[in-house]
Every structure is written in C-alpha cells, then in structure tokens.
C-alpha cells in the first residue's frame, strides 16, 4: 500500500492547516474575543488527517469536543468553523454551537459530542443503519483516552462487536483526560488491549505518524466494509496544549510539554520526513505554511465581518416542524 507523493503533500497541507488554525483560534480566545469553551487539538493533527483520508466520501464521522481538526481534514471550510466560534450566522451551526458541537451534514460529519464518550453509541447506531440498509458505508468515531472510562464505551463496543457492525473506533490517546494524566485515570497499559474483551481487533499506533495512522485506519475500514466488524484503534499522541484554550496546563510536570514538542510534534515530524525523502522542498514547505496562515486570516476576517444570527434562530428547530 504505497501512498503517492501528491497524497502525502496534501496530508501535510491539511496538518499544517489544522495547526495554524488551532494556534490562531487559541490566541484569539486568549485575547478574550470568543465566548464559551474552545478545545484545540495541537499535537493530534496526524490522527484527523490520516484517519479521514482513509475514508470514502460517503462514510460517516462522529467527532467530539476536540474536533476542529476532524472537520478541517474533511473539508469543512475554515471560515465556517471560525464563524461558529464567533457565534455568527455564517457558522457551521448558525451560532448555536460554538466550538464544541460542530456539524457538516453534507460531508458526513454528524454533530460532535461535547459530552465525553457521548458519540460512541451513536456511531455504533449509524453502523447499524448501514448494516440494515446494506449501503456499504463505514462509520468512524473519534474520542479521547478519557472517554474509554465511560460506560457508553463499554456498551457500544460490546454491541458493535456482537453484531459485526461496520464501525471504526479511533481513540486519540493524548495522555490527558482534561487535567488528569492517563496513569491516574486507568490502569491498562495499552487502551487497545481492551478490544480483546469485546471480541474485536485492537491496535495501537504512533498517532504522530500520519502515514501509519492512514494505513492502519484503511485496514480497519476495509474490514468494516467487508462486513467483518469493528476495530478499536488507539493512536498515541501528546496534547501539546491545555485542555481548553484558556488552560495553560499548570498541572503538567515541568518540562513535559517542551520535551514532547521536541520529539512528538506530528507536523514537524512529517515535514522533516517529506524534506528528507525529497518529496517537499524547504521553499514548498514555507509556502504551504504561508498559505495556511492566509486561509486562517481570511477565516478570522470572515468571522468578524459576518452578521449575528437573527434573534428568531434561538427558538428555531427545537423540533422538526413544518412551521419552522
């Protein structure tokens, strides 16, 4: 399974887009421009890009509160996401969500869950729909290490395995459940070891290696599409930032973040790899970063200039009715 140079460059571009977007969003948040909560995903870009690249256009994704990268990787315009952060009418959810519950139905991105572990059963049900409809669509659920301690994780994985449902469970093990280090919230060494308890394959990969993530998810997706059932995938990364944009991560051991940034920054790793392999020149890499920065600035501008949602939006579509 070889990946074309073009595809690798595109993957790199998407990773850079996510990094630039999240860095800027975090900065804006810290400047007091945004209301509410904003959980960014720096350090986890390779998972979003690698996993989503392995899906077909019709496949379905259930994202979570740390999901901006998933949407960007799937093609949701940056400006629509940024506008949602600003609560504007042009946002993905017309200002009803903020950063946590993004949606992009057209691209198969169901509503992201702000409840940790909240989407795992839903993804299982989406796969159940596919099994009944025989539509060959695969569903992928993203969640963090913290979510694997939630009862829904257990219920969903058992059900998905029992019924051989076409779903891929992608755990982004970023070492922290909000402020709690993994060693303090679960005893199990590898999260993927839990898969055996459900009767499904479990695999742990380096989540900073976008190619590895892509290849592994592809195997899981093919297995699901064949009708052979679900896979639990653990992608090991490090959350390079605090839990939310306002969190400076003071609970982390001194030097830990710096250490991981040096060795486990997926964007840097991939960039070095592409330069070494001669797939990318230094100048091209710089251009990609510059373009991503421009895209983000345009998104910020768009968000700021966009209109507030009309006041009626507050009470619209509580129900699906003819008179909305």
């Amino acid at each position: 399974m070889s990946i074309s140079k073009e595809k690798k460059v595109k993957m790199f571009k998407d990773m850079v887009r996510i990094r630039e977007f999240e860095d800027r969003a975090q900065q804006i948040y810290r400047e007091g421009e945004l209301d509410g909560h904003l959980q960014t995903c720096q350090g986890q870009e390779a998972i979003a890009v690698g996993a989503i690249r392995a899906l077909s256009e019709k496949d379905i994704i259930f994202s979570n509160h740390r999901g901006h990268g998933h949407y960007l990787a799937r093609g949701t315009p940056a400006k629509k996401i940024m506008a949602e952060f600003y609560g504007k009418a042009t946002g993905t959810n017309r200002g009803k969500s903020g950063g946590m519950y993004l949606v992009d139905v057209k691209r198969g991105m169901m509503i992201a869950s702000g409840i940790v572990g909240g989407n795992i059963c839903l993804a299982t049900g989406s796969a159940l729909a596919s099994q009944i409809k025989k539509d060959k669509i695969v569903t992928l659920s993203f969640f963090g290490d913290g979510a694997t301690n939630i009862g829904f994780f257990h219920e969903a994985l058992n059900m998905a395995a029992l019924w051989d449902l076409p779903v891929v469970f992608v755990c982004e093990n970023n070492q922290y459940a909000e402020g709690t280090k993994r060693e303090e919230h679960q005893k199990v060494g590898k999260i993927s070891d839990r898969a055996i308890g459900y009767g499904m394959p479990g695999v742990t990969v380096d989540g900073t290696d976008v190619v590895k993530v892509y290849e592994t998810v592809r195997i899981a997706v093919e297995r699901a599409r064949r009708g052979d059932g679900p896979t639990l995938m653990e992608c090991v990364v490090y959350r390079l930032v605090g839990h939310s944009a306002g969190d400076l991560g003071a609970y982390r051991p001194k030097g830990e973040e710096e250490e991981w940034r040096k060795t486990y920054d997926p964007v840097k790793i991939f960039r070095t790899k592409l330069l070494t392999e001669g797939i990318l020149s230094q100048a091209e890499a710089e251009r990609i970063i510059k373009e991503a920065q421009e895209e983000v600035e345009e998104a910020v501008q768009f968000a700021k200039e966009s209109k507030e949602p009309p006041i009626e939006v507050a009470c619209q579509y509580v129900y699906q009715e003819a008179d909305n």
Binding site: N119, S126, Y317, V318
Partner: protein
C-alpha cells in the same frame, strides 16, 4: 369493531408501520422472548435484522437508535422498565434532544422510545415502579406521548414512528391488558389533540394514562352528584392547552391527576397553563393529585398509600363541590 388489548393495538401499529416502511425497525432487551410481549411475533414476519434482541445496555440501545435515526432509519426501541431509561439519559437529553436544533433542521431524528412505566400489579418496588414522564417534559426537543387506551395507543404510536422528532412513548403497565375498540381501517392520531373522554359541566378532571380509567369510573360513580368532564391530554408535549382551557372556562373547577410524584410533576405545569389563561373563570382553586414525594414501596398497602387511587380522586372531587 374489534376490541384488542392495549398490547395488541401497539403490536398492530408496529406491524403496519414495518410493513409499509422498511426504515422502521425495533430493538430492545428480550423483545422476542420475554416480558410484556408488544413485539411478540414480529421476528417471524420481519426477521432478526429488523427485530433485534439487545444486550442489557440501555445506553447503547438508545444511543444506537439515535445514530440509526440520524442515518434515516426509524427505530422504535423498547426500554423494559422506565426505571432503566436513566442509564441512557445522557443519550436522550444531551444527544437526541439536541441534534435537530444544533443542525438547524438539517437532520431529522425519527426515533421512538417506548417504555412501560408506573406501578405494576403491586410489588415492583422503588426501582421497577416509577413514573418519569414529567422529567422529560422539562427537556426541550422531546415529544411526550402517553396513551390511555388501545385506540389512542395504536393511532399515536403510528404518528410517533413517522414523526421526525424524538418521541418518548409512555405505556402504563396496568394498561397492557385493557381492551378497547379499534377500527379495522388504518388511522393515525395527531399529537397535541386532547380527547374529551366524557363530557360534563361542573368540574374538569384532567387525567393521564392509567388515571384516565380511574377518572372515568369516578365520573360514572358520582354522576348523580356532579357532572364531571374527563379530559385526557394524550400528549404532554405538545400539550393541547386549547381544549383544556375551554373546558375549565366552562366548569370553573379543575383537578389534574397524574401518577408522577407531585412536586415538579406535570400536574403543576398543566395547572399553570390553565391559570395563565382562565384564572378569572375559576370558581375555586385548582387541585392536583399525584404520587406522594416518596419512593414507591413494595408492600401493596404502602404502595396504594403513595400513588393516586380512585378513592383519592373521589375524596378530592367531593371536597371540590
């Protein structure tokens, strides 16, 4: 006209909808084997793909139903006892009730959760006899249906299945064996239309679910003393305020009977709705009956002490005239 039991009327509704719409499927714990038997016989006709026994996993049953509904299916799930629905509460409140809103109408959610509630044939005790529909009335985004007889059960379940919103469908355990007339031809009952079960002029008795049976019995028993108008809202969300208020404007007296614990129960909500519109029509203050604010005890006499009964309704009515 045929007189099926409530349980059979529900089954007929499922069968009709499953025959005409391949998106409809049912799942729940032991639904083909055990328990109330609403889904009995469906697996023979529709197969195990569309009639699914599940693990004991209320979170996954409800969550998976939401996920399937997001993909255009119309799942009808059965939760064995309402007491167990709490395991899946997050999925109902944080997910199902929010998807249409958050997608600003881009997503439909044709999901029906059928669930028995209320006191059993005595002895369920505090984790198998609760009444929870009032809890869900307080969650915007859910529709709440609470049919009191076979005719309403069938017509409302068919509407629930085809509705594009999440519907909680509460079936009182005492009702399953009750018989009632159901026409042979297909029909549906719209949400938000209360039924005037008996006309009267002196007092409006609003009752839900199993309490409707008591209300009708009381109205008959007291007919020489007082003319009671019995109204069954049939759906609590949406609530047919119009029919209720019109009745109270006529009678000037109202008693609301519902099995929910009285504090924070839907009885108070209905009374508030009445007073906002019809305060000046009231002859006397409104009254409400519900379960006492205690868990449901096992012992039959203790249980009767806690829940609303026919005798308690009679006592209340006599105090009001």
């Amino acid at each position: 006209m045929a007189e099926p039991m409530y349980v059979e009327a529900l089954r007929d509704a499922l069968r009709e909808e499953m025959r005409k719409d391949s998106a409809v499927f049912v799942m729940g714990e032991d639904i083909t084997r055990y328990g109330i038997g609403v889904c009995k016989g469906l697996i023979e006709e529709f197969g195990p793909e569309r009639v699914r026994n599940t693990p004991i996993s209320e979170g996954a049953i409800i969550g998976a139903a939401i996920g399937a509904a997001l993909r255009g299916m119309k799942p009808v799930v059965e939760i064995m006892y309402v007491d167990f629905i709490l395991i899946g509460m997050d999925q109902i409140v944080n997910q199902a009730a929010k998807t249409i809103y958050l997608s600003h109408g881009e997503l439909d959610l044709s999901l029906t959760i059928r669930v028995p509630e209320g006191t059993e044939w005595h002895g369920g005790g505090c984790q198998h006899s609760q009444t929870f529909h009032s809890l869900f009335v307080n969650i915007p985004g859910l529709k709440i249906v609470i049919p009191s007889n076979p005719y309403d059960a069938k017509g409302l379940l068919k509407t629930a299945i085809q509705d594009k919103n999440p519907v909680l469908f509460f079936e009182h355990k005492q009702l399953y064996t009750q018989k009632g007339e159901v026409p042979k031809d297909e029909y549906t009952i719209p949400f938000g239309k209360a039924a005037i079960k008996r006309e009267g002029k002196d007092i409006t008795l609003i009752a839900t679910s199993w309490m409707v049976r008591h209300a009708l019995d009381v109205a008959e028993e007291l007919k020489n003393k007082v003319s009671i108008e019995v109204i069954d809202p049939r759906t609590l969300v949406p609530l047919d305020k119009h029919t209720i208020i019109k009745s109270v404007e006529k009678t000037g007296r109202v008693l609301v009977v519902d099995e929910s614990p009285i504090t924070g129960g839907v009885q108070g909500e209905i009374i508030s709705a009445i007073l906002e519109e019809a305060f000046w029509n009231m002859e006397i203050p409104p009254r409400r009956l519900g379960a006492k604010n205690t868990p449901i005890p096992f012992n039959a006499r203790l249980e009767e002490e806690v829940i609303p009964t026919k005798e308690k309704i009679i006592k209340c009515i006599l105090e009001m005239i």
